[in-house]
Symmetry: C2
Subunit: 545 residues, 2 copies
């Protein structure tokens, strides 16, 4: 049997265009004489549709889309995902379904059993789990159809669920597992996925066809990597990462012996591709092309500018240099050099005069009080006004350049440098931003070396350095990672070799600054634990404070 | 049996002080010769603890708190809620438990079965549902111990769950239902709660003791209203709303016939009390006292100022008047009159000069282009700089004054008037803000009548009115409510009598402005569907656009 893997990229709720895209892939599959085409989870709506699932009209439009696909299935099996109504009065109103169309009609459906409800996932919010499990005979195979998480309760030490739908499906002796997925990227995910699929092959002894999305939905980036694994756990094909892709696999090939064709998965290059995908799809899917960002001469804005240029093209990136009295000449020169290296436009507009003007308006009220963080914060807020003015006047979208270390400890100005429609680096610790910068420069100097070499500074007062306020990033970042990613206790982090009072101070900063993170842009997720929907913390609380 | 209802207010994660508070209530109960004291759900952690539940240290601290309560239970039953570890490897790691202490030790526990996972609730994210159900004999009663949602699958037409834990518990013939609750306020909730409890009494024929929190946790406000309902559905006592409270109820009283003592539940007065509670606890629990807000002479900032003054005291509220060229003299006069009526301090600082300065800096780049929303947005952003400068310099917290109608359609400036640590009116449509203003003025004119009477305007360009951009609020608000609260389709809203193109325009505005709402402050929740954690929408999407 020839199976087409449709690694598509759709837009959430864009039923009309999603249908067109599905149709174009079905036509490719027909041209290739495929017997069956497999799409990702919730194909017709995009993933995650979130609370749009609570709108009856949204569910009706999903059903309409399925109706419109039926005529295309005369000569090919079409396996798509969509939300469908639960006919029972009791329980959640929906199932997360995989539906097989053939001969112009629906011939089979299987609902998702394991509903991920952790990190960025909210499926128990919407869906009732499957209560019945069946396979379907199609051509020369008997298919065990599963949806994403359904295969993920194997291969880890702390299973989240008390059932395995494959255990039920095996009673009907399937010959092939099909998995419709919507599995967001993190830098460990592609490896993790293969581990999990191998655990399934080992447990059930039959091959797997796994189809995932490519492309980004706001903060979530889907890496594709759709694959076919044979019953010995050998990867027969692994589709490219982060790209829409179409490939036909003939199950006859299982009879031939081949080498494993797994692709390499190096962390920093994957992250780079993921972030470019995230920027590209954010703009593409809202129908805008042009971005603006503040270029300070520092590392974070430099790396963001590089990624934005790769994603959107040099003609679509405007860098604004907004020096103050405290900006070094070298910073401006570094920023200009970067803009030239990238071939992007830049404009220079000083904040000195508005800063003086605002200080003088406030002087009657502040008279006599020493300068403090108040005066520091005014500067990035004036920069925000400039950036948003350009954005409003010319239709740019502002990109945020904050990194995860800063967001974690609140080292940034709310409504100042923490603004923007999308946070590009908000899931990279500062030390990872350095790694990414060095990788960007691996062949030639795109980011001026001085930007990488100089000590980080916000340049909001004379001679300021990040280390005036924060520990060095090679100490801060491991502490943050132990707390945020691994959820270790203060005692455990101290035991790992960090200074006790520093650890307590850092953890307190993380918890106290939840209010800032609550109001910042969606963060492109590249780690297993990003700020945003995947990490839900109370704002008013006293834990570890 | 004498049962103490402990309607307490705790702080999330503040184990030490929560323990002290629990102890003080236990001591009151001992003084009153109570046999049993009942606390709300997840007593020791506060509700909702959100992802702190994923930290082992947090769970250990919960267990420690329980240990420290045991010695107090020598002569009184203590029924508290806390998260406990699921000993099974499979399934979620925690249960949401009610634990009964007596004679210095744990004598009984029952886990929560129905885990709310909708709107603001995420319990399936953390907890495994109960798999066993038992009652406990205590003194002259047999108790069916339930946790909040466990009783909520009755009395509605579309039950969310396929089981009712009370059906299981009834097999052991309990004489009394106890319910530990954490049930957030909305203006329909107190009525809804009584309806649900009556449905339980009707189904199971035994009385109910229901104990809820009082006080706010960031955006969620708990209204208390703990109550005892007898087996005929008559309310024997209903505790006051929004206040910590302690009352002892003797089950002997069930033998006497009395009239129903349900308290009245008028919408606008309840909302007023809820918002005051929300402000008071936000500040109290972060340990700050003083607020600043911009007073424009418009309705929203006026109502916010009134509520802030009631919550924090007139000495703790600073009103900043920040007129521009486009502010009418009448607006300033109205704002000053309001500040005088409230007895709060006000300062006047014009934005005219910084506005001119910033425009002149931008002029070389904008030269020749007509004024548009760019110039409008700069003004509230300068106001934000002033407000945050005062906040930073003197330790004020900025209150946001936006209403739900504005947030819904994006009629507000991101990083301008949409800023603040807490949104007070963000869950009230403009027409409800009018109702609240009239209620505030019911006895005397606190809000100058002109503020209520004049047509709403952002005053960002000459002669501007809200109706230049938006339909009148008495048309806009019902459309928004049909879409946001009732999730109606465009066709259904048009069928309800609204202009088709207007409906499409409004719904598109709602969906397109998700990016603004994502970056605004937590909104005090007073309706069944508030912006924030209870309404999770994709930012990049194309539905109804």
């Amino acid at each position: 049997m020839k199976i087409a893997l449709a690694q598509i990229n759709v837009t959430i709720g864009d039923f009309e265009n999603n249908l067109l895209k599905i149709k174009s892939f079905v036509n490719k599959a027909l041209d290739a004489n495929a017997d069956l085409i497999v799409f990702p989870e919730l194909t017709v709506t995009g993933y995650p549709p979130r609370d749009f699932l609570e709108f009856e009209d949204f569910i009706e439009k999903s059903a309409d889309t399925l109706e419109q696909l039926k005529p295309l299935s005369e000569k090919i099996g079409i396996l798509v995902g969509l939300p469908v109504i639960n006919p029972e009065i009791e329980g959640k109103d929906l199932f997360n379904a995989a539906v097989l169309l053939y001969n112009g009609k629906e011939i089979f459906r299987q609902y998702k059993t394991l509903l991920p409800t952790y990190d960025i996932f909210d499926e128990a919010r919407y869906f009732e789990p499957a209560r019945a499990w069946h396979t379907v005979a199609f051509k020369d195979q008997r298919l065990a159809v599963t949806v994403c998480e359904d295969l993920w309760n194997l291969g880890n030490e702390n299973p989240l669920y008390t059932v395995n739908p494959m255990d039920k499906l095996m009673k009907e002796n399937p010959t092939l597992i099909i998995n419709l997925s919507a599995s967001p990227f993190d830098y460990q995910h592609a490896k993790e996925r293969i581990k999990v699929l191998k655990a399934n092959v080992k447990a059930y002894g039959i091959p797997i066809v796994y189809v995932n999305y490519a492309g980004a939905q706001t903060d979530l980036i889907f890496d594709g990597g759709s694959l076919v694994m044979d019953n010995r756990g050998i990867i027969r094909t692994e589709l490219p990462f982060f790209r829409e892709y179409f490939e036909v696999f003939d199950t006859e090939q299982f009879n031939r012996a081949v080498k494993d064709s797994e692709r390499p998965k190096p962390k920093i290059p994957l992250i780079r591709q993921a972030l470019i995908t995230g920027i590209r799809d954010y703009f593409g899917k809202i129908g805008l092309k042009k971005t603006i960002l503040g270029l300070s001469g520092g590392l974070d804005s430099a790396v963001t500018a590089v990624l934005a240029t790769e994603a959107l093209g040099q003609e679509n990136v405007l860098a604004l240099l907004m020096p103050s009295l405290y900006s070094s000449e070298r910073s401006v020169a570094d920023a200009v050099a970067l803009a030239k290296n990238l071939g992007i436009r830049h404009q220079i507009v000083s904040i000195t005069n508005p800063f003086a003007r605002i200080l003088s308006e406030l002087q009657p009220f502040f008279n006599g009080l020493p300068d403090d963080v108040t005066e520091e914060n005014i500067q990035p807020r004036i920069r925000m006004i400039y950036l948003m003015a350009f954005a409003n006047k010319f239709g740019y979208v502002l990109l945020n350049t904050s990194n995860k270390s800063e967001l974690a400890v609140g080292y940034g100005t709310l409504y100042g440098d923490l603004t923007g429609g999308l946070s590009v680096l908000g899931d990279l610790y500062k030390t990872e931003v350095y790694e990414l910068a060095r990788y960007i420069n691996r062949k030639k100097e795109i980011i001026p070396q001085n930007i990488i070499d100089k000590p980080p500074s916000a340049e909001l007062r004379p001679g300021q350095k990040d280390t005036d306020t924060l520990p060095p990033y090679d100490i801060l970042d491991p502490i943050l990672k132990l707390y945020i990613e691994q959820r270790k206790s203060p005692a455990e982090i101290i035991d790992a070799g960090y200074n006790a009072s520093l650890v307590r101070r850092v953890l307190k900063m993380v918890n106290r600054n939840e209010f800032k993170r609550y109001q910042t842009a969606p963060v492109l997720r590249v780690s297993p634990k990003a700020f945003g929907m995947g990490r839900r913390m109370p704002i008013v609380a006293k834990y570890l404070e």
